[in-house]
């Protein structure tokens, strides 16, 4: 592989993208508009019932605090993981946690809903449960949404920015002209991948910090981990774009295939809503999409502060997909 040849195509592709102002503007504006729109839409106080998590042994429901459970307008949800439930109280995702086995309850000292629920609890059953305090900022829907939106933007930029461009190059003869030079297919494809990853990561970082100024996102994890997750996601999605565009010279056909891939990925990768409530087969099916892993891993870093070890499953999946897409794409690639 010749670095000089690779750099020549890489630089030309970057200039081509940066000077295509409409494409550049769309790549930046699209995620900003979505994040901004949701930030505004969900900025008011949510009109919701109080939410209390219950931790208790199964088949032992007739224990302390039974009277409190009869209170109207409170939604009680069962939880099997005490630590995770405590984190949810810290993040305001539940307003109170009650451990009926040990007769303890947790409230967030910064949560108005937690304060109200505590008054209801002690008014109903007295001081029979021991108070546990936690603190922490609220996780809003926009905090939860951001990783998915960034991932989705990355997906469109990767699939259409690489796939469509390659098909156009093939159709109008740019690839044929490059084939007549000493440039190898590997050098050409590497330059395309590198250029698009640079573009995607620059835009992702710019959009993240640009919108963070106004929305102040929750970020409990490491920026390095988040960058790594997005970078791996970008590589896998760009590789998928290369695979789709490896042979065809029809923009219509490529557009159809890219839509068939991108739309299910957008709706089934947990970008807009959590897949936790969906059927098990849907959750398993969604794992075939790189975007599912990008979204879940980025969310785990930002909201749960996940470590690299905790992300290893997603990272392995993204690496495996990248290898498979690149291998298949390189094998099936045709200049003409």
């Amino acid at each position: 592989m010749s670095p000089k040849r690779l750099l020549a195509v890489f630089v030309a592709r970057n200039k081509e993208f940066l000077r295509d102002r409409s494409a550049l503007a769309w790549n930046i504006l699209f995620p900003v508009l979505i994040v901004g729109g949701f930030a505004i839409a969900f900025s008011g106080e949510a009109i919701d019932v109080y939410k209390v998590a219950l931790y208790q042994d199964k088949g032992n429901e007739q224990i302390a605090g039974q009277e409190f459970l009869k209170t109207d307008y409170i939604r009680f949800v069962q939880t099997d993981e005490l630590d995770r439930a405590i984190t949810n109280v810290e993040r305001h995702q539940v307003d109170m946690l009650i451990d009926r086995n040990t007769q303890r309850y947790w409230v967030n000292t910064t949560s108005p809903k937690g304060y109200m629920l505590e008054r209801v609890l002690t008014g109903t059953i007295g001081n029979t449960f021991k108070r546990q305090e936690v603190t922490g900022s609220e996780i809003r829907y926009v905090d939860w949404l951001l990783p998915g939106v960034l991932g989705m933007n990355m997906m469109f930029s990767a699939l259409f920015g690489v796939g469509y461009v390659l098909v156009r190059y093939r159709k109008n003869g740019v690839l044929k002209r490059l084939k007549a030079t000493p440039l190898s297919a590997v050098e050409f494809l590497t330059a395309q991948v590198a250029s698009r990853i640079l573009v995607i990561m620059s835009i992702t970082v710019a959009v993240y910090f640009g919108t963070d100024i106004f929305v102040d996102f929750a970020m409990f994890g490491s920026y390095f981990n988040l960058f790594l997750v997005f970078a791996l996601g970008a590589i896998s999605l760009v590789s998928l774009g290369l695979l789709v565009a490896s042979r065809t010279a029809s923009e219509e056909f490529a557009g159809g295939i890219l839509n068939v891939i991108s739309w299910p990925m957008m709706f089934l990768s947990g970008v807009w809503f959590s897949l936790e409530g969906t059927a098990a087969w849907v959750q398993k099916f969604a794992l075939i999409f790189p975007l599912t892993h990008v979204t879940a891993a980025a969310r785990a870093v930002m909201i749960d502060g996940a470590s690299l070890a905790q992300l290893s499953g997603h990272i392995t999946a993204l690496l495996a997909m990248t290898m498979a897409f690149l291998l298949l794409g390189a094998i099936s690639f045709k200049w003409e």
Partner: protein, 299 residues
């Protein structure tokens, strides 16, 4: 064919697309420093042939040897190619396009030299999409020369150019030849081949039907000249004294090896000689003679 050292040798070359035999068992050699023209009507197989020579298409059978070796990366480094139609990356200026292509080769011609040789000065900073037809062809020629090639393939380089631009382009091609480069020119313009080529190959239906220098081919097939008149000037009952008379497109052509005899016959028939022209036989006549088709016919 070539007296000079053979740079590119073609042996029993064929290419088929399904049942269509686009190129059918052709063999020839291209001498170093020569300008070889590949002539034929659309669909004759000349672009398929030249794309196999360029290494773009794989032959179905037969061999192509460059400097005695199969086409490899060494050939791609030493070949300059100008395709019949080529798009360039969008949003890149003519200068940046040259720079990109320059960096793809280990050896290069200085850009300034190419800018001057191909007259690119006026549009060097312009987006390649905004160039006129002539400017674009000059840029594509400069790209074909960017690696200081040993052999240059020009596939119908003047198609779509106006007559003046075409003649300017011919001068550029002549200069390539002067610099000792080998040129393979595909064209369906007879005049272009006659002006530029040392050797020509005429193709039809995938076969080479004639090859040689333009003058030797004409001398071999013709010993007459053409006397041309407007059809309206020649009476229907004109006595041609045995000479062939062809009528087409409002004109009459009298084929004769004795111009004096033709003149005497015309004067005897009281034909006006005001619009009379006498011309030599051309490659177009040769092609018509060999195939019964015009060079620019769609096939």
């Amino acid at each position: 064919m070539p007296d000079k050292e053979t740079l590119l040798g073609v042996d029993h070359l064929s290419k088929s697309f399904g049942k269509l035999m686009a190129v059918n068992d052709i063999s020839f050699g291209i001498g170093r420093g020569s300008c070889v023209g590949l002539l034929g009507p659309n669909g004759a197989g000349k672009t398929t042939t030249v794309e196999m020579l360029e290494g773009i298409k794989q032959p179905s059978s037969g061999t192509i040897l460059y400097k005695g070796k199969p086409l490899d990366i060494g050939f791609r480094q030493e070949a300059g190619i100008m395709f019949q139609t080529t798009a360039l990356p969008d949003h890149i200026t003519a200068y940046e396009t040259l720079k990109m292509f320059r960096d793809l080769y280990p050896r290069s011609t200085p850009i300034e030299q190419l800018v001057k040789a191909c007259s690119l000065q006026e549009f060097l900073d312009r987006d390649a999409r905004r160039l006129s037809g002539g400017q674009r062809q000059r840029l594509l020629l400069a790209i074909a020369l960017i690696n200081d090639p040993e052999i240059v393939f020009l596939d119908e380089p003047t198609t779509g150019l106006d007559p003046q631009a075409r003649r300017n382009f011919w001068n550029l091609i002549r200069e390539i030849g002067v610099r000792g480069k080998t040129v393979v020119l595909t064209t369906h313009y007879m005049e272009e081949a006659y002006e530029l080529c040392d050797e020509i190959l005429i193709m039809d239906r995938g076969k080479i039907i004639a090859e040689g220098t333009p003058d030797s081919l004409l001398a071999k097939h013709f010993n007459d000249v053409v006397v041309q008149l407007p059809a309206a000037d020649l009476p229907e009952d004109f006595d041609s004294k045995g000479m062939d008379v062809l009528r087409a497109n409002g004109a009459v052509e009298i084929l004769t090896s004795d111009v004096n005899a033709a003149m005497e016959a015309l004067m005897a028939g009281r034909v006006s000689l005001k619009n009379l022209k006498v011309r030599q036989r051309t490659l177009e006549d040769l092609f018509l003679e060999l195939t019964g088709k015009e060079l620019r016919d769609e096939s």
